[in-house]
């Protein structure tokens, strides 16, 4: 071999070795030693209580519990563009849960998305948000989880195709997309705002649903809160691209998150139902902080967005003329509840205020119309019948198009018939597996004619 060839070969070899070493360094994580599952009594009660509130803000039980099964035992199927991921068992079970995880191992999982054994976790577990959770809060969460009831429930196999089923690929993803400490307190803002920012960017992980993702499934930082997807529902844009007919204020957000409904916006259902169910049990100051921060995110509403429901009523005639079928279905099946004036949450919302109708994505409306709103066991809560069985695709499509034309000033949707077909299929799964809200909107003082 020539001298230059040898040098080149040497450089290539060094580069290759370095690359492999680097790749190894990126991918490989050490395992933490197992510990004996700590006795629940060893955790301070106040710390556990703090952890309970934090877990509620983090909505942990929602992903880590399947309808009809034990709390935190995992097994919930989460559909992603790459396949279905099943949530893991985070009860302190020694064999199938996190019972043998040390606090450090738990912290690493939250901070960097690595499990005790050193395997990378799929970012379906939103550690890109949880990385912002403080050490102190991680400690409280650990105390809470380790004092839950252990449940023996082995992890379910994820259903991912190659190469997504190769965990080392996640390392590459993290390299590109995992940023530590994305949240920094802003001294120009109030303490309340900062608390809200810390919670939203961290534990509450609102962006995990409400921010669109790129082709590799990472949140697009340039489009924060511009709207996203979860469980075949559309999580509405919360920034200045919000399509809510009535603009959100901090007070409205607080009421909505705390009580589960707001007269100008509707009732939290679908995946949001569990979120508000959890938020009803945490200190209200934290809910208010979240509301204050998010109100800042949504910004000052454009002047022409107010008074949209009056416009909606005026549009009625035109919409009916163009879509007689939809109009008569609305008048016959919907108006009796949605125009009877009974206040929320037990009366049908004034549809001119429905974000589902004004949103660019017709999925949520299709989901609600087909599946309705189910009763919550033993608690006062709204019930709406679903129309999946009584409406065929043509009828549901006509209705959705009519609602869009009549109750929004947005351009018509396209492909509504496909949306309806998809909704039929996916909602059955959602209703069967999601654990469902544990409590209903708080009991308001409301009046109606008997």
């Amino acid at each position: 071999m020539t001298r230059s060839a040898r040098i080149i070969a040497g450089i290539v070899a060094v580069v290759l070795v370095a690359a492999v070493a680097a790749a190894f360094a990126i991918v490989w994580r050490p395992a933490f030693a197992t510990i004996d599952p700590p006795a629940p009594q060893t955790f301070d009660a106040a710390l556990v209580k703090k952890g309970r509130d934090l877990a509620a803000i983090g909505n942990c039980n929602d992903c880590h519990t399947v309808r009809g099964a034990k709390n935190f035992a995992g097994g919930l199927p989460v559909p992603t563009p790459f396949g279905t991921i099943f949530s893991s068992n985070i009860t302190p079970d020694a064999e199938t849960g996190i019972g043998r995880w040390s606090e450090a191992a738990f912290q690493r999982a939250m901070r960097s998305g690595v499990n005790r054994e050193g395997q990378h976790l799929y970012p379906t577990f939103p550690y890109d948000h949880f990385t912002n959770v403080s050490d102190e809060d991680d400690r409280a969460l650990y105390a809470f989880l380790m004092t839950r009831q252990p449940v023996r429930a082995p992890a379910r196999e994820n259903q991912l195709s190659f190469p997504f089923n190769q965990r080392f690929a996640i390392a590459g993803w993290k390299l590109l997309f995992l940023r530590h400490d994305t949240y920094q307190p802003d001294p120009r803002q109030s303490a309340e705002w900062n608390r809200g920012a810390y919670l939203v960017e961290g534990l509450a992980h609102c962006g995990a649903c409400h921010t669109p993702r790129n082709a590799l499934g990472a949140e697009r930082n340039s489009a924060q809160f511009a709207g996203g997807d979860v469980d075949n529902w559309h999580a509405y844009a919360l920034n200045d691209q919000s399509h809510s007919p009535v603009p959100w204020t901090a007070d409205a957000l607080f009421a909505y998150l705390r009580e589960g409904f707001h007269p100008d916006h509707g009732t939290a259902r679908g995946p949001m139902a569990e979120v508000v169910s959890n938020l009803s049990s945490v200190p209200s100051s934290d809910v208010r902080a979240i509301a204050v921060y998010m109100a800042g995110v949504s910004g000052t509403p454009a002047a022409d967005r107010k008074g949209q429901d009056e416009m909606a009523l005026a549009q009625g005639k035109t919409a009916a003329r163009d879509n007689a079928a939809g109009a008569s279905i609305y008048a016959a099946a919907c108006a009796s509840c949605h125009e009877n004036g009974r206040p929320l949450p037990y009366g049908g919302i004034n549809l001119g205020r429905s974000t589902a109708i004004s949103s660019p994505d017709p999925r949520n409306l299709a989901n609600i119309v087909l599946s309705g709103v189910r009763a919550v066991e033993g608690e006062r809560s709204p019930i709406m019948p679903g129309f999946a069985a009584s409406m065929n695709d043509e009828q549901a499509t006509a209705l959705l198009n009519y609602l869009r034309a009549r109750f929004s000033n947005q351009p018509a949707w396209t492909g509504v018939d496909k949306t309806v077909q998809d909704a039929r299929r996916t909602q059955t799964v959602f209703l069967q597996t999601s654990p469902g809200p544990r409590n209903a909107p708080a009991d308001p003082m409301q009046r109606d004619k008997p």
Partner: protein, 743 residues
């Protein structure tokens, strides 16, 4: 309490020998010449007020047999049970008779179908009347055949001589043979020979109900019938100040708008037209609201501070028994709704000065009296016929719907008027089960036995049933309204708010006080089990609290204080069937609970053991299994009894874990199933077992309300066992349990 008894005779002739139906007469009201001169000792049950046999049994010359009862089929299976009783004592095939129920023109006045008294009152009367009718038929056959009575037997509707000669009942019946008063002694059949009583004969009403046959008052369709809807006020005492009817009158199908003061209704040809007209009419009204309702979360303070009439209803003293350790507790119950699945409905028709009302009221006679008074008509011109509605569980909107229909029908002479209440109206306007407070205090002696017992109950009356017109909404809302009758406590031993307030256990010292509260902030009346639901809940919860104080097993503790052998038997049966063991430990997150009561201290006995699971994270309670033992005396239809007890446990579970009426400062706000949630299938238990202790030959004991109180306490005790926390305020909701766990 009962309406005045009215004499009316109808002769139904088929040849010369059909029997006469007649109404009850007491000697005081007798208008007949052939009333017996010397009053015999009072016969049992409703024979007291309707002593004539033919008030209960009619036999036609073609052999057709009809049984009459003044009670109503509410879904408890009475029609079938009474048919069984009569078939047994008359010695005819079950299918050979039919039962006619409550009808003011045709059946005896048995007051209300309530208080679990139907078997005792009507069942006993039918049994005796049937037995004595049979004796009379045999005596007649003996006369005709010139044979001694002892040589004859009966089978399949005939009297049979030793040589095989048969004389059918139809052939034997003659003249007014059954128009005689019941004798004090009857030759009842030996229970050991029962062929029909004690069998789980399938209910006669179920086939129609599962095949779409007409079965309910809601199914009635009379020629020319119109549909009416009432526009009720938004709150108690609201005044109708504006009512713009002209536009509504022009709506399609509208026949008439009826307004009488604050009573407002619209009538249309078709049902959906009437609903749309009702909504339009409601939107065109303005009301002045005056109601001032108490604070829903503050009922304890409200009830214990309202003026009350205080009566010591039980007192026993034994100075030698002294307590060493004392505990006290207060238990509360909110207003709870009957929540009938089918909102109330009635059909009325006014023809030639006579009003007929088809209604699912529990009391056709008292309701008739009220309606007659409201319309200022002679009661004889008003006929009420009971037609089944959905389960009422006491005094729901049925009587009011009947009054509504009658009032509207009078404005449309000739046309049958059907009034159907809306769901919201039933929820808002039905009279509720009253809110109650109980305060208990007791001490244990040195041996861990209860030395003294103090019990106070605060409650409204538990009955505002008609009787007077003023009990009915239509009459209260008319321009010339009838005043609400003054509430009165129901007398012991049955009681109302104090039902089951007197402990069935033996305590050396006991003191029970009934604080009867006349003022009724919310509209209330009788709801299944009346005060017994809350009183038994309180007593049986407190017994567990005392057992815990004594370090004793809950079942053993109860047996230690109970002498009554039948009570002991049901307790032991339930415990044994459940697998209850002293010193047992329950599985993680689960608890075991036990409770016992004898309904009204004189009706059926019931003990219930239950297993409840509580979710630590959410507080969610779930009844996993319940095992009950019941003693209702001679059992007529075992499956029917089991059905009632299963139902009682599941219904009580819903009351106990979920239910409370909600209201703001003016209006009732729990007006549909969103706002008054009840049990759904996701919380139904895994199993409910009922074990019957049959007592052949013993009197029938009412069982329709015996399970609710013990079920509530059993569940409460199981929750306490599972969580280590005692909850005393009904309902025992998930939120309250979670707060107790977190505390």
């Amino acid at each position: 309490m009962n309406a005045p008894i009215i004499l009316d005779r109808r002769r139904v002739l088929a040849g010369g020998g059909a029997l006469i139906i007649s109404f009850s007469l007491t000697s005081a009201f007798a208008q007949q010449q052939d009333a017996p001169a010397a009053p015999a000792p009072s016969p049992p049950g409703s024979l007291k007020t309707s002593p004539y046999l033919d008030a209960w049994i009619r036999i036609d010359t073609d052999g057709g047999i009809t049984v009459f009862t003044g009670k109503a089929e509410l879904g408890q299976g009475f029609r079938t049970a009474f048919q069984q009783i009569a078939a047994e004592e008359l010695d005819v095939a079950f299918g050979a008779l039919k039962v006619v129920t409550a009808d003011t023109k045709v059946t005896a006045n048995e007051g209300y179908t309530s208080g679990s008294n139907s078997m005792k009152d009507s069942g006993t009367a039918i049994q005796i009347a049937a037995a004595q009718a049979r004796e009379l038929l045999v005596a007649e056959a003996a006369k005709r055949l010139d044979l001694p009575v002892e040589n004859l037997r009966t089978a399949d509707g005939a009297v049979i001589a030793p040589d095989g000669k048969r004389l059918s009942y139809g052939e034997l019946v003659a003249g007014d043979m059954l128009h005689v008063q019941a004798q004090p002694k009857s030759k009842l059949k030996n229970p050991a020979t029962y062929k029909v009583i004690g069998q789980s004969v399938p209910r006669v009403d179920i086939p129609a109900k599962v095949t779409g046959g007409a079965a309910y008052v809601q199914d009635m369709r009379l020629p020319g019938m119109v549909h009416a809807r009432v526009v009720r006020p938004p709150s108690y005492g609201a005044q109708l100040i504006e009512c713009e009817t002209s536009a509504v009158e022009k709506l399609p199908g509208v026949v008439k708008i009826v307004r009488d003061g604050n009573f407002l209704a619209v009538v249309a040809e078709k049902e959906f037209q009437s609903i749309k007209a009702m909504n339009a009419l409601a939107a065109a009204t303005k009301w002045k609201e005056t109601a001032s309702l108490p604070k829903q979360d503050d009922l304890l303070a409200v009830l214990t501070s309202l003026p009350s009439q205080n009566t010591t209803i039980f007192e026993r003293g034994n100075a030698s028994a002294t307590g060493q350790k004392t505990i006290e507790a207060t238990y509360t119950r909110p207003y709870q709704a009957h929540g009938s699945i089918g909102p109330s409905c009635a059909v009325a028709q006014f023809v030639d000065g006579a009003m007929t009302v088809w209604t699912h009221t529990q009391g056709v006679y008292p309701d008739r009296q009220g309606i007659a008074e409201m319309l200022r008509m002679p009661p004889a011109s008003v006929r009420l016929i009971h037609v089944e509605g959905s389960g009422c569980y006491g005094h729901n909107g049925a009587d009011d719907a009947a009054a509504d229909a009658a009032l509207i029908a009078r404005a449309l002479p000739g046309r049958p008027v059907r009034v159907q209440w809306m769901r919201e109206q039933e929820h808002a306007w039905e009279p509720y089960g009253p809110a109650m407070v109980t305060k208990l205090k007791a001490s244990l002696d040195g041996n861990g036995k209860i030395a003294d017992w103090n019990f106070e109950v605060f409650s409204n009356t538990h009955s505002m049933r008609p009787g007077g017109a003023g009990s009915m909404l239509a009459a209260q809302h008319m321009a010339q309204p009838f005043a609400l009758p003054a509430p009165r406590p129901l007398p012991l031993p049955e009681g109302g708010g104090d039902r089951n307030a007197i402990p069935f256990y033996n305590f050396p010292n006991a003191h029970v006080v009934h604080h009867f509260i006349p003022a009724m902030p919310l509209r209330i009346s009788a709801m299944r089990a009346l005060g017994a639901y809350h009183n038994v809940f309180s007593i049986e919860s407190f017994m567990d609290e005392l057992a815990a104080l004594a370090g004793a097993d809950p079942v053993e503790f109860r047996l230690k204080h109970l002498d009554d052998s039948r009570g002991r038997d049901v307790i032991e049966k339930a415990a044994q069937s459940f697998g209850w063991k002293a010193g047992q430990t329950s599985p993680q997150n689960r608890g075991f609970g036990f409770a016992f009561a004898r309904y009204k201290n004189l009706a059926a006995y019931c003990a219930i053991a239950s297993e409840v699971e509580v979710n630590r994270e959410t507080g969610r309670p779930r009844l996993i299994r319940a095992v009950a033992a019941v003693d209702s005396g001679q059992v007529v239809n075992p499956d029917g009894l089991i059905n009632q007890i299963e139902g009682a446990i599941v219904q009580s579970m819903s009351w106990t874990l979920y239910e409370s009426v909600s209201f703001d400062d003016t209006r009732i706000t729990s007006i549909d199933w969103q706002t008054y949630p009840i049990l759904r299938f996701d919380a139904v238990p895994e199993s409910v077992e009922v074990h019957i202790i049959n007592r052949p030959g013993q009197p029938f004991l009412g069982s329709g309300e015996t399970g609710q109180g013990p079920a509530a306490a059993s569940i409460a005790n199981a929750i306490a066992n599972a969580t280590g926390r005692r909850l005393r305020n009904l309902p025992l909701t998930r939120k309250r349990i979670k707060e107790a766990i977190d505390a």
